[in-house]
């Protein structure tokens, strides 16, 4: 059922499946109806920025606003339909190497209920974006592992099964390294993107795994790239060349190089879905 639904959203993904084989991967018609009522009719849907303004603070759990950038601030070599020269290739390489250093410290491996996935820290107080099928329901215990091996505790906050957007938080210490959030208004197909995560699950003998690709499709509820993500990457971040999170790894396809990410805009528009209803009621 879920896959059927995702096929509709994802277009030509005939063979789409979740990178990690856990979590409740099934949604029901009832749930979808419910979602339609809540997010389609219950409040004004809008583009990323507006949605972010209206729904980013729920019960004290605030989603940071997207960081605005201009495409022109990137080296020209990164913006061409295809690289044309060695200078373009060097420009891409230089950007990627800098970005990897910048965004790696905020990318974590997550362990929830015996399963592993990935996540990314988006605030100094330890909010972690992940996939709904990694987080599962609220208040589950989570262990986060940083690229340097440091392990900290936390809990799941909630998730929106429909979009596969999930949220966790670190419950000890801080401040934590974090990365800025992006939006998709300035994104274009062909943009170079970086996927980070722990494919195959966390492996203490291996560093965080970096993959480079391009945006293949940008739609309201699906984002596709040719980064070669794999089971275990679920919940890990997709970065644009400004170093902003623009997607969260959700599903792989039958093709090595046509994989799916939850668009970051889903976290803005479905924020009230992600935070459990009980907490929303308490807050209002």
């Amino acid at each position: 059922m879920r896959d059927e639904k995702l096929n509709m959203a994802g277009g030509d993904a005939n063979d789409r499946r979740r990178p990690a084989g856990f979590g409740g991967g099934t949604s029901s018609l009832a749930l979808l109806l419910c979602c339609l009522v809540v997010c389609g009719l219950g409040r004004q849907p809008g583009i990323a920025a507006e949605a972010a303004k209206s729904s980013s603070d729920t019960n004290g759990i605030a989603l940071p606003r997207p960081t605005r950038v201009s495409r022109e601030s990137l080296p020209a070599g990164l913006l061409r339909p295809a690289p044309e020269s060695i200078a373009d290739l060097r420009a891409i390489e230089a950007s990627v190497k800098v970005l990897v250093k910048k965004v790696s410290p905020a990318t974590v491996a997550v362990e929830v209920g015996g399963a592993t996935g990935s996540g990314v820290i988006i605030s100094s107080n330890g909010l972690v974006l992940t996939a709904a099928h990694v987080a599962g329901g609220p208040d589950r215990k989570v262990t986060f592992t940083f690229p340097d091996g440091k392990r900290v505790r936390g809990e799941t906050v909630g998730s929106d099964e429909n979009s596969d957007a999930g949220l966790m938080r670190i419950t000890e210490g801080g401040p934590w390294p974090f990365v800025p959030l992006g939006e998709l208004e300035t994104a274009k197909v062909g943009d170079w993107v970086l996927a980070l995560g722990h494919p195959g699950g966390f492996d203490s003998r291996r560093s965080l795994v970096v993959r480079l690709g391009r945006l293949l499709r940008i739609r309201g509820d699906s984002l596709q790239s040719d980064c070669t993500i794999s089971p275990g990457d679920s919940g890990g971040p997709l970065f644009d060349m400004h170093g902003r999170v623009i997607g969260i790894h959700t599903t792989i396809s039958g093709s090595m190089s046509e994989n799916f990410h939850v668009p970051i805009t889903k976290f803005y528009s479905e924020w009230d879905e992600i935070i459990p209803a009980a907490k929303v009621e308490e807050g209002t």
Binding site: P45, G46, S85, I86, G200, R219, S230, G254, S257
Partner: protein, 335 residues
């Protein structure tokens, strides 16, 4: 289900709202395959690398089909490649000049899965090795003998050792002290070699075995992808079977599932030191150099390991192995 599709479209319509309709159309139709990271349009930009490196690469064929690329290590035609891909048959090498030349294996390093091959060809140039350590995020290019590379990717993890995996012949014995085969694991080597339940295993590569732990001991000396000789008793007959060691598929019987990983190399673990990169490389295109934007070899592609990774041996490890392979053999080791 129809109902659901209707709702889905409605949802999409409600949530859509990018600024320019034209832009939105392009974004949702998608990128031309030609411009994917592995697409021809992208690979063309790397043509200058191929121009620099093609004389340092050969394509190795067995009975006319390509089994690997080779890395040229001296001007007289010595080439390193991935040993386990060299099946038995007539070995030849294709040169960038589109000529075919005879080739023969002169040495094998089983630990690294490297074979030293002599190609009877002129005009080959040894590859230039990179001395700087590979950095994560760096371009990792796999040139072939053509005008554009076979594939490109980036270094995706820091250099590390890959432990060997235990490999199986795919039988279940009656008991710890009886080597009569009770069951065969579907799709693994023993079944493919024609063994049957009721057969009794007598020896492995000439080594006499009577207990299960002796078999396990024997097999631990070999790796996935290697073929061993199993002496079998079936009723009154005795015969030798060539059995390939394989990894059982964690998701089900038989060979490892390729649905998720794509095709991987038969030997994909047990390497002293590798660079991991995210190039989507066909297993039969291992053996060639992995080069950086200067056209220098930062490694030698040694295995397609999974959906997201390809391994390349580091220059240090390769050069050390090469010295040993080139040194005249002191004593032929018994095989």
């Amino acid at each position: 289900m129809k109902n659901q599709i209707g709702l889905q479209l409605l949802l999409m319509a409600l949530l859509a709202g990018p600024a320019s309709a034209q832009e939105a159309a392009r974004n949702s139709t998608g990128l031309s395959r030609n411009l994917y990271r592995g697409g021809e349009g992208t690979l063309r930009a790397f043509g200058f690398i191929s121009a620099k490196t093609r004389e340092s690469i050969v394509k190795l064929n067995v009975n006319g089909s390509t089994v690997a690329l080779g890395t040229v290590v001296d001007a007289k035609g010595l080439v390193l490649t991935k040993a386990s891909e060299l099946k038995t048959g007539k070995l030849t090498c294709w040169l960038p000049t589109e000529k075919e030349a005879e080739a023969e294996v002169v040495g094998i390093d089983e630990d690294l899965d490297l074979a030293l091959v002599h190609c009877r060809a002129r005009g080959l140039k040894p590859v230039r090795w990179e001395t700087a350590e590979a950095a994560v995020g760096q371009w990792a290019i796999t040139p072939g003998i053509g005008a554009t590379p076979q594939a490109v990717g980036v270094v995706s993890a820091t250099t590390r050792r890959i432990r060997p995996e235990r490999a199986f012949i795919g039988v279940q014995f009656e008991s710890a002290i009886s080597l009569r085969i009770e069951e065969l694991m579907r799709g693994l080597g023993a079944e493919k070699a024609g063994l049957k339940p009721g057969d009794k295993v007598l020896a492995i590569n000439g080594e006499h075995v009577t207990r299960r732990d002796e078999v396990v001991d024997c097999l631990s000396k070999f790796r996935e992808g290697q073929t061993i000789k199993v002496r079998v008793q079936r009723e009154q007959d005795e015969f030798d079977a060539q059995v390939r060691l394989m990894m059982p598929d964690p998701d089900g019987p038989g060979e490892r599932s390729t649905r998720l990983t794509g095709q991987v190399s038969a030997r994909s673990a047990g390497f002293e030191e590798v660079i991991e990169h995210d190039t989507v490389l066909q297993p039969w295109l291992c053996g060639g150099p992995l080069v950086d934007l200067d056209g220098k070899a930062m490694g030698l592609n040694i295995a397609r390991a999974g959906r997201f990774s390809t391994y390349a041996l580091t220059p240090q490890v390769v050069q050390r192995a090469l010295e040993k392979l080139k040194a005249p053999p002191k004593k032929k080791s018994a095989k």
